[in-house]
Amino acid sequence: MTARQQRGLAGPVVLTVFGAAVLVPFLSLLLASLQPAGTPLTGLAWPDGVHLENFVHAWSAAGFGPLLRSSTVIALAVVPAAVVCATLAGYALATMDVPGGGKLYGYLLLGLSIPTEVTVIPLYYDLRALGLTNTVPGLALAEIAAFMPFGVFWMRAHFATVPRSLIEAARLDGASSWTTLWRVLMPSSRPAVTTLGVLYFVWSWNQFLLPLILIQDPSKRTAPAGLGFFTGQYDVDVPLLAAATLIVIAPVVAVYLFFQRHFINGVLSGALKG
């Protein structure tokens, strides 16, 4: 084998190792969900027989129907709004002379370091004063606010890489900044926007502490709250917990897979070059 061929092999080998490192823990999750309910788990163990009924039990025990529904409602309220806000702000901060833009950007970035594990308590009282606790709008606003710094950061980094000449050309053609954004820049921004949307969806779906404190009615909380049903004070039912975990992550993985294909196509069709 020549050196060149060896090098050609190195890539796939490295990627396969990475893939395996990610996959093995998931494999144990999958195998765990097929064990008889109540089995304590140790390492990778092949189940004796496939116990799909775990999924049925997990579904009904945690009441996943309403939980998944409210997770969906909240994600739908949060993701589009947050993506649009972040895109507009990132666009302006990267391509326009915003008065005090540097300071504004710094101000937004500061939000990345706010530790939610304590601010959520004053936030609860603030929302209570506004009558927004135990409501979808209250939680959605809190999530949009919490996600905004990353989104602006992400979209600004993206728009900063767009060639200045492209924007100048659009302006010379008489396009307003609004038209430039949607007509000229958006097509090539699809991967960045899609990625942000998927990340927002995942975070909103998996968001845990905010719904727990801001929503008092357990049946109105989000999907991960269902996992708490299988970790009691003294007892953890591993197979049911594993099955519940798969139920919670299935929609997120589906969304990710769907949009990923979408954005590969965007790239392959050469939309990137604008």
Partner: protein, 444 residues
Amino acid sequence: MRHLPAPPSRRMFLAAAAGSSLLVACGSSLTPGAKSSAAAGSSAVSTTVPTDKITLVVADADDTTMTPGLLAAFRAKYPNITFKRQYTGWDDYLKSINTTMSADSAPDIAQFVSGMNNLVKGHLLLDVGGYGKAYGWADKFPGLDQITLSGDGKTAGTGALYGVPGGLSFEGVYYNKAKVKQLGLTVPPATVAELEDLFARAKAAGETALVAGNLDGGLNHPFNVLLSVYMKPQDREAWAFGRKGATITGPEAVTAATTLKRWVDKGYVTPKVNGTSDNDATAAFAKGQGVFRISGNWAAAAVAKGLGDDAGLFSMPPTTEGGPLRTTGAGVYYCVSSRSKNAAAAAAFLDFCATRQAAAVTAEAGFMAPDATSMPQQSGLLGDVRTGWQWIVKDSGLQPFIQNASTPTMPDTLTTQLQLLAGGKITVEKFLAALQADFDQFHS
């Protein structure tokens, strides 16, 4: 001069007025919280169960069949009262219950857990002492001192009554009957020293003598029980209940901690105990690993399922043969929101927990019924548990966990320090001093 603006004094006055009213409006929400001055005195108390249609909201973290079973049994008796149960997993419950109880929509009945003491100070829990007197709860329920709290919520065992236990729990010594027989060990041991001797012989035979997990601080079970055995009841209670001036650094506590450390050092306890969770330890014991395990009756169902007829339990032996039996225990306590509009109905449910019908539900869920004598006969491990409970109640030997009511940070402190002790990183004296330091900081 015609365009002279309004006199500055008036504008300033308006601005100041607007500003200050804004400040006042903000001021109250800038420092949010329930007033601790206004007393929410329990009004007219009646033991008549209301007959109009009522819905009670119940918040709990009880993952057994007990709470839903009790609610169903109560409803069967009083069909006009329906329940809306809001179950939350244990960890999530601890995080969210204070804000849940602070909301206008607070549930009528809630499971009481440590950390809810501040609700007492904020008068968000109903003082049910009046109902207690009217119903005669003092004679019906053991362990009421654990939910009797001082006005600032800092000390238990004194002050007003805030609830009753639906079911109680206590720590005992599980053993694997097959292993005990095979090793030729005689159970139950009459003293702690004899128990330790059994550990030594199990270890000599190559077995894990005492199965334990300390990843999440599970060594607190044997430690609490050893404190129950060695410390004078009033000293132990004073500390566990957070009474000012109490100490856990005296010679008896040193003996208890030294005993635990010796068990670890001599290899009686699960090796690498700091890397095993308490749940995993129960699971391992139920799978047939090891010979003994000190845990509560909540583990009985899992152990019985795993070991079947080989599962047994005896009470933690005293220091001297024939001495009174003492152990550590807690329970699932129910309290009532001071915002509840249906306090009389809620109190009726609390009272129902002491009935014979309730005892059947409680026992089936694996808990000890408040009325030990009305628990149905059971065989096997559950029979052992029932017998153990009756002995403990007879000797009034149920003592609180030291981490539940002493200080709010004690659960974390105890876990940290037990891991250091089991890992051989600190001495017994430093271990106890660290617990005392946490205590003194809160109660100074």
